[in-house]
């Protein structure tokens, strides 16, 4: 119980952000046309690649060999998520551009 209260106290601002972000996420998504569901999912997929920042921090402070190897893979996979995610989304959305008739 004390641990929970401490968590709330230490992370009060973070918890506010979490609650507000939840509402924000719902608000942003709820009026999206079905046409954009796939690109939107893909775009959101790229955004959670933000986890790569945690990976960079962890690798940046890694000291043992094992943690360097694991950290290396974490950064690598996180980067794949970010780059692949944004590029795939961009390609999907390219299809929606109104192209002049050839």
């Amino acid at each position: 119980m004390e641990a929970i209260l401490q968590f709330i106290y230490v992370n009060a601002e973070a918890l506010f952000i979490v609650i507000l972000s939840i509402f924000l996420g719902i608000e942003v998504i709820s009026h999206v046309p079905a046409v954009l569901h796939t690109p939107l999912m893909s775009g959101a997929n790229a955004i959670h690649g933000v986890v790569v920042i945690g990976a960079i921090i962890v690798l940046g402070h890694a000291e043992t060999g094992l943690s360097m190897v694991l950290g290396f893979f974490a950064v690598l996979l996180g980067t794949l998520n970010v780059v692949g995610g944004f590029v795939v989304t961009d390609r999907m959305l390219e299809m929606f551009k109104k192209k002049p008739k050839k």
Binding site: F7, I29, I47, G54, H61, G84, M95
Partner: protein, 484 residues
């Protein structure tokens, strides 16, 4: 005020830290704006670039400015090496992959993010704050977010890989009651093991490493078993769900490092992904629980096999029927996508258009393998937006349609969804092809759709079957129509 003073005692204010927070704030705003713009067709492409810009800002700022307990980061060589490989490989894969394989790509990249989150937790576990442990043992909030990140991240990773395999057709559905029980059992083990580790009291976390690795292994197995029984047709829902899982796992990292951009980005995706998952379920008229339990189709469902007479139609008859129609509705499905026949479909459309036929497309929300997937494919073939009708609208117009051509679609036009309460897809909204005057079904053979159930549409008196690969058949059909 007191709190600020107290707070400032704990925080060593440095110039770099505050600049870093400003960059994180900018990145978070760019994520939100990007996501918002992504939900409108006109601004979507720009929205994606904005979000990408936010990501670049956040990463570069972290590299330059991040300090941990006043310590600068090291291992820059390794970091840049990993980022370079990730960028090059990610870029090449994403550029080269075929448009039909997009859902697979989203799934695999989602898995990568989940794995990264799990690895972070794995590495941070031995570094839990010593003071916290002295105070509460392992029953503290840092341990909690680390375990949540580990479990959610690895379930998301393993699940995404299985989802990828299923979309790719490499992994078959496995359904059994035993598996369902095993899955429930797995959840209990994961929760129990987490509680066991967290109640070990004041110990050095390093001693518990084997247990943490066991937790990782069990979570990975659960991720596999979780997706195993879910039908291939439901993969979009699952991917969307796993997508929001990875978002939450990333947010756990945000808590751990007190890193606000990870927190905002992660939670934003977590909540948006959850809503998107529900929207998709709604489009199929099914509950999320129903999807997860995996009751769709399969051997357990008693299927009445009324083998009515199947009537075929020749290419030339089809061509004549189409040319002399006033209004034609195309119902594309995954078969069209797999055969890469979207360009041919539009070519046929243009030729018919020149002959004075009004051609429209009825897009079912779950046509293809993901909501909106079919729109992306048809847009690739230059089909104008105003020709694409959502299924409700298409159904309203259906009575005035002379010919409906179903190309490689099955479940989304199955009348059982409307009139057979015993059917597993009962209640799912469908494209009501039978309201039109004629129905032509273009299909490779009499195989069942993804939901693996009979389709009485094929036996209906209005229906004619045109067997063959979608691409070849369309090609021949175009030639025939041109000759008329």
């Amino acid at each position: 005020m007191d709190r600020i003073i107290e707070f400032s005692k704990h925080v060593q204010f440095t110039f770099g830290d505050s600049v870093l927070e400003i960059f994180y704030l900018i990145a978070s705003v760019l994520f939100i704006m990007g996501l918002k713009m992504l939900s409108h067709p006109d601004s979507a492409k720009k929205g994606n670039l904005w979000a990408a810009a936010g990501m670049v800002i956040a990463i570069v700022a972290t590299l330059l400015l991040h300090r941990h307990n006043g310590q600068k980061m090291g291992n820059f060589g390794l970091i840049f090496f990993a980022i370079s490989i990730g960028t090059i490989v990610g870029w090449i894969i994403a550029r080269r992959v075929k448009m039909t394989k997009m859902p697979e790509m989203v799934s695999i990249f989602n898995g990568m993010g989940g794995a990264a989150a799990a690895l972070i937790s794995l590495m941070e576990f031995p570094h839990i704050n010593k003071e916290l442990i002295a105070q509460h043992g392992l029953l503290n909030w840092q341990a909690l977010v680390i375990f949540l990140g580990l479990i959610i991240g690895s379930v998301s990773f393993a699940g995404s890989i299985i989802a990828f395999g299923k979309l790719d057709g490499r992994i078959k559905d496995i359904r059994s009651l035993t598996l369902r029980i095993v899955n429930i059992f797995m959840v209990i083990i994961i929760v129990a093991l987490t509680i066991y580790i967290m109640t070990r009291g004041n110990v050095d976390p390093a001693e518990l490493s084997p247990l943490v690795y066991a937790l990782l292994a069990i979570s990975l197995i659960y991720g596999v078993l979780f997706v195993m029984p879910i039908g291939g047709a439901d993969m979009p829902v699952v991917i969307s769900l796993l997508n929001s899982f990875t978002g939450i796992a990333a947010a756990m990292g945000g808590f751990l490092y007190d890193n606000l951009v990870m927190l905002t980005g992660g939670i934003l995706v977590g909540s948006a992904g959850t809503i998107l998952t529900f929207l998709m379920c709604k489009a199929m008229n099914r509950s999320l629980l129903n999807v997860i339990v995996g009751s769709f189709g399969g051997g357990t469902v008693a299927v009445e096999t009324e083998q009515g007479s199947i009537r075929e139609i020749s290419l030339i008859d089809t061509a004549i029927l189409l040319t002399y129609s006033r209004k034609v509705m195309v119902v594309p499905g995954y078969g069209l996508a797999v055969a890469q026949a979207q360009h041919l479909a539009y070519e046929l459309d243009s030729i018919l258009q020149d002959k004075g036929v009004d051609v429209k497309y009825a897009i079912h929300p779950v046509a293809g393998r993901m909501p909106g997937h079919m729109n992306v494919l048809l847009a690739e073939a230059d089909v104008p937006y105003d020709k694409l009708l959502e299924s409700d609208k298409a159904n309203d117009e259906m009575e005035s349609v002379d010919v409906v051509i179903v190309i490689g679609a099955n479940d989304v036009v199955n009348p059982a969804a409307e009139d057979d309460p015993s059917s597993p897809i009962y209640g799912m909204p469908i494209v009501k092809t039978l309201k039109a005057k004629n129905v032509i079904v273009m299909k490779r053979g009499m195989g069942k759709g993804y939901a693996a159930i009979e389709n009485s549409l094929f036996n209906h008196e209005k229906t004619r079957m045109l067997f063959g690969n979608a691409k070849e058949t369309l090609q021949k059909l175009i030639t025939e129509v041109k000759n008329i």
